[in-house]
């Protein structure tokens, strides 16, 4: 890759961004659930050039023991970037930035997970950035949330996340790498869509009060859209599984009483 230089303008006179998007347009997003066989739950996300895989293990026994929480499970998030994920080789040692993002992601996810159902155990979330092009922490949250659901971990809701920023004085949604680097600010955020609670809100650069409020509203709108994509991806991963089996699934309704989950139901009686 040729050395990067600052683009002259981030937003064209026509109001389009460097990659041709409108200011409130997300990059193309592709979510996949169940991409890893070994993990209890997994998901991948492609958002523009950003590509991230998340794997979830657990709830399982916690080692080392001294981290044990007696009233709830410990949510351990590890965010790592591959050495080849950025043009300048990323040094493989865990960096300050990776540790911080790990914590930030854990804090964003924890409020929705019913951690109290698994005291003393651990839920491990591993996030690997394969290719980074801005917005990795938000993309990571999107994928991790899906991976948690795929692992069968009880949670209040999926968590969508998106970054809103400012470039050439205009608020823009879902920053790419250049917009992030050369723009005037960046506000990554994550919400619980069912209640509109915010579980992640960071900011760098300077925003006026009005700008920040508008940025958050743009972020919430984009998150709601992302949430729809997440739900679709999750359902899709199970629907396709059943379709490749047999086609007589039309009479789904009739057969219902006879099979699935019955022994569990009987326990109630």
């Amino acid at each position: 890759m040729s050395p990067e230089k600052r683009p002259d303008i981030l937003i064209s006179p026509e109001g389009l961004r460097i990659d041709g998007r409108r200011i409130d347009e997300l990059r193309p997003i592709e979510l996949k659930v169940g991409v890893l066989k070994q993990a209890d739950g997994s998901a991948s996300i492609r958002q523009g050039k950003t590509y991230i895989i998340a794997a979830v293990y657990g709830p399982r026994e916690l080692h080392p023991r001294h981290l044990t929480l007696n009233d709830r499970a410990y949510l351990r998030v590890v965010y790592r970037m591959a050495t080849f994920s950025v043009p300048d080789r990323k040094r493989p040692a865990p960096s300050r930035r990776e540790k911080e993002i790990s914590m930030v992601i854990a804090n964003a996810l924890a409020p929705t997970i019913f951690l109290e159902e698994f005291p003393k155990a651990v839920i491990d979330v591993f996030i690997q950035v394969i290719q980074a092009d801005g917005g990795t922490r938000c993309a990571a949250i999107n994928a991790a949330s899906l991976a948690l659901a795929d692992a069968g971990i009880p949670m209040r809701s999926l968590i969508p996340a998106v970054a809103v920023g400012k470039a050439d004085g205009k608020l823009i949604v879902d920053l790419g790498d250049e917009e992030d680097k050369y723009g005037q600010g960046d506000v990554p955020m994550a919400i619980i869509p069912t209640t509109d609670e915010i579980t992640l809100l960071q900011q760098d650069g300077s925003f006026t009060r009005e700008e920040l409020i508008e940025a958050m509203q743009m972020g919430i709108n984009s998150c709601k859209y992302l949430h729809e994509l997440q739900k679709e991806a999750l359902k899709q991963s199970y629907v396709t599984k059943s379709e490749d089996g047999h086609s007589e699934d039309d009479d789904y309704e009739d057969d219902m009483e006879t099979d699935l989950g019955e022994s569990e139901i009987m326990e109630d009686e």
């Binding site: 209890d40 739950g41 657990g58 709830p59 399982r60 026994e61 916690l62 009233d71 499970a73 929705t112 019913f114 159902e117 698994f118 005291p119 003393k120 155990a121 651990v122 659901a149 795929d150 692992a151 069968g152 971990i153 009880p154 949670m155 209040r156 809701s157 999926l158 619980i192 869509p193 069912t194 997440q230 739900k231 999750l234 359902k235 199970y238 629907v239 599984k241 059943s242 089996g245 047999h246 007589e248 699934d249 009479d251 789904y252 309704e253 057969d255 219902m256 006879t258 099979d259 699935l260 989950g261 019955e262 022994s263 569990e264 139901i265 009987m266 326990e267 109630d268």
Partner: protein, 323 residues
């Protein structure tokens, strides 16, 4: 959609995702769901939503094993500590089994004489709460140390489907293949078959149920699959007329990577030696191999004695399904 007027927002057996609104109004949240103060019920899991009376539940499609009082589980002994065995039953928690709950007194100070690390047992969960446990007991019908056979691990969420309604699925598999099985609620299935091909077929059947757990008419499909496999095997055997090199020609079972699914839990070498011997014998005599381990407490002995009278052993799974 039948209960539309009462504000239920899902079709029966619909695949739902966490945070999806399921019902609004006088509905009770149960397993796999949660409710909010304004009376709305949401899903907490990826699973199939169901309505029973006014109770909403979500049957999970994935998930680790969470112990429940009264569950029948299959575990591996990992630690012998004083008067306790620590048993790996899958999931996040290690279970304890006290010697008093497994052996008839008096018993020797060294309880590893009776059961040691690596032994596989069937036990019942007697207590589990957030503070302590789970605790196991082996006093009960069919609770014993397992000898021979193999362990299959499946997703614990799929166990209800593998058992089927009142044991319909597992009993159907057993009737076809004439195997012994015990299904633990923790996702472990013990299978003992008279030959390797039957074992393969059993594994294939169970794996198919696991993969297609959320589809309908599964019992019928498995039934057909087994019947087909068995009849093709029979005609094969007839055409060969000698039992020399009976090759598996059941349409798909040869593709199954059975070798990869050998027991995850190591059985002691003596067991496998036993098993080799038993493979060629008939079912009836294969039962008699069990009392070879007479040293265990009274419970085991009675359990084994009952097994002897019942070649196609059904008791264990019935216990699981009829809790």
């Amino acid at each position: 959609m039948r209960e539309n007027q009462l504000a239920v927002y899902f079709h029966k057996r619909e695949v739902v995702v966490p945070g999806q609104l399921l019902a609004d109004g006088r509905y009770r949240a149960s397993d796999g769901t949660y409710d909010t103060e304004d009376g709305k019920v949401y899903s907490a899991l990826v699973g199939l939503a169901e309505l029973r009376g006014n109770t909403v539940k979500v049957v999970p499609l994935e998930g680790a094993y969470l112990p429940k009082e009264g569950d029948l589980v299959i575990g591996t002994i990992t630690i012998v500590a004083g008067n306790n065995w620590k048993v790996d039953i899958g999931g996040p928690y290690l279970a304890s089994l006290h010697a008093n709950n497994a052996l008839r007194r008096p018993y020797s100070d060294d309880i590893s004489e009776y059961m040691d690390i690596g032994d596989v047992i069937v036990a019942e969960i007697t207590a589990f709460d957030r503070r302590s446990g789970p605790f196991l007991s082996m006093k009960g019908r069919g609770l014993r140390k397992l000898e021979g056979g193999m362990l299959l691990e499946v997703s614990p969420a799929k166990i209800p489907r593998i058992i089927g309604r009142r044991g319909s699925m597992i009993n159907m598999i057993k009737d076809h293949l004439r195997i012994q099985t015990i299904v633990g609620q923790n996702g472990r299935i013990w299978i003992k078959a008279k030959d390797t091909e039957t074992l393969r077929l059993a594994i294939k059947a169970i794996r198919t149920v696991e993969e297609q757990a959320h589809t309908s008419k599964l019992t019928d499909r498995i039934n057909n699959m087994l019947e087909e496999a068995l009849s093709s095997r029979q005609s094969e055997a007839q055409s060969m007329s000698k039992e020399g090199e009976v090759k598996e020609t059941a349409p798909t079972s040869s593709e199954e990577p059975v070798e990869a699914e050998t027991p995850e839990v190591p059985e002691s070498t003596s067991d496998s030696a036993d098993e080799e011997g038993e493979d060629s014998t008939t079912e009836g005599s294969d039962e008699t191999a069990e009392p070879k381990e007479p040293s265990e407490g009274g419970t085991e002995e009675t359990a084994v004695a009952e097994d002897e009278n019942q070649p196609a052993e059904i008791i264990d799974t019935e216990e699981v399904s009829e809790e």
